[in-house]
Symmetry: C2
Subunit: 297 residues, 2 copies
């Protein structure tokens, strides 16, 4: 799995930080989390084709997180996209959909679906499960987690020993379905090894530090948490429903995350050494995201 | 007067060319012509404060020319703008206004006016006159001209000789109003010198080469003309209601422009030497705009 930070600023962008957008590559898909203005520009610099994005997840509808969407969709259309795209987001997605339609003088020539998600919703297939959690921002905001589904090892010798003929029944058992051989029931648990450790990545969206995030990010491999302010600006963070770097580190610590990446950095600070230090005092395995930074998980 | 090209691409942007947007500085104002996505980012690089923009002129409502608008306006609001802003554009501006409203979860805290313009409309004050001309694109599109209004020199000695007392009547005459002194009418023409040569700048928007532009750009100091294609792609240019570099040069020549700047350059071409050469064979005083290029007129 690969994460590419396209934009890492908070509401006001800067020379070096674009508005929020994160690319997730994995399971043969390219997914986009948030889509601030200039996302399509950043995609060029990150060498990621917008045509390959299959799903877009929006955390909330503040401008800095969504205003790259109309342009991204129009560009896909202009380049003659035919493959389907699904856009997910919390309640209110219809408003964004209407605006996108008003700003586009043409019809979209590819299947485009908008799906509203609620707290603790689930999107899953054979390979992964994506979950939502309502967090605490000034407007309805969802955090997202992506977990890979790893099948336990199929114990081939064990299956043969139990009389399962080599063939499609192996697959059935591996997928978790029980089978019957000569009147004898064979359960998947009889031919499957221990569950493999699967990776979990969590993205907070905009939020104050909240209990919900601690549970949601439990034991994750990577927590990407907003970190708009320094500790000294805790009051501003609370007033504006955001987190400090220290808050983010505290959530990482309490949730037993393996690694923390700070993003959604206020561009008011000239350098971010303090921000990083403040987080690392609480949670040492922390880094700060920069635009176009790539991370393998 | 200063022109800064913020974005110079056509519909598909590239590493080096952003979507269309041009800054005009003059008469104590900063005006923006078109507002493609990433305009607010390019403003940072051009070191122009978005807070100083007083008027925005849109040529038409294709995404590449307007999708920077929602973000630019939200950023102005976020930075606590209080000064008024007027957005002008052809028929259909209401659709854009509605979309901007849908994408903004807050009210704008500065006076924001949207004014639809028609063919041969005029916006003027003491210092300048801005005119519109409907051109030939696939959707309603307006070209704009900006002309400075230069008052002729006030012949002070002549006024004194005619018995005008030193004081506010001088101003009245200079503004073009006639006055009466002891029953004697004094006309402005009696105390004003020859009209001064005033500068004229014309921006085509997206258009096929058309007669209207020739007349509209007559004797201008600078013609900024779209130049999407090379001569070899004339068919594509016609089909998509655009111009080639040669077309633009032809318009510059026929309108007796002093200088031509090509913009709205298709990013399909690896380099633009041919594009420039093709224009210069017809109109030698031609340059190609690049992002962040500044020109004094």
């Amino acid at each position: 799995m690969e994460i590419i930070f396209l934009g890492t600023s908070s509401a006001i962008h800067s020379y070096s930080r674009s508005h929020p957008a994160i690319i997730f590559k994995g399971f043969g898909e390219v997914m986009l989390f948030d889509c601030g203005e200039s996302t399509q520009k950043q995609l060029i610099f990150a060498k990621v084709s917008p045509m390959k994005i299959s799903k877009i997840f929006l955390t909330h509808y503040h401008g800095d997180h969504i205003l790259g969407l109309p342009g991204l969709l129009q560009s896909m259309n202009f380049r003659d996209r035919k493959t389907p795209l699904t856009i997910y987001g919390p309640k209110g997605l219809n408003r964004v959909k209407k605006a996108i339609k008003l700003l586009n003088l043409y019809d979209f020539n590819f299947p485009l679906e908008f799906i509203e998600l609620k707290n603790e919703d689930i999107i899953e297939n054979e390979k992964y499960i994506i979950k939502t959690k309502k967090v605490n921002h000034s407007v309805e905001t969802l955090a997202y987690s992506i977990e890979e589904k790893k099948k336990p090892k199929f114990l081939r010798d064990k299956a043969i020993e139990l009389g399962v003929p080599i063939g499609p029944l192996f697959g059935k058992l591996h997928r978790g379905e029980q089978i019957e051989i000569n009147g004898k029931i064979i359960k998947p648990s009889q031919v499957l090894g221990k569950p493999k450790k699967s990776k979990k990545i969590v993205y907070s969206g905009d939020t104050t530090p909240c209990e919900e995030m601690i549970n949601f990010a439990k034991n994750c491999d990577l927590l990407i948490h907003e970190s708009t302010y320094k500790k000294e600006d805790k009051n501003k963070a609370q007033k504006n429903f955001h987190s400090t770097a220290y808050d983010a580190a505290n959530i990482a610590k309490k949730s037993n995350a393996k690694k923390l990446i700070l993003t959604h950095i206020s561009t008011r600070y000239k350098d971010n050494k303090d921000l990083l230090k403040q987080a690392q005092t609480k949670f040492p395995n922390t880094i700060i995201a920069n635009d176009l930074m790539k991370i393998e998980v």
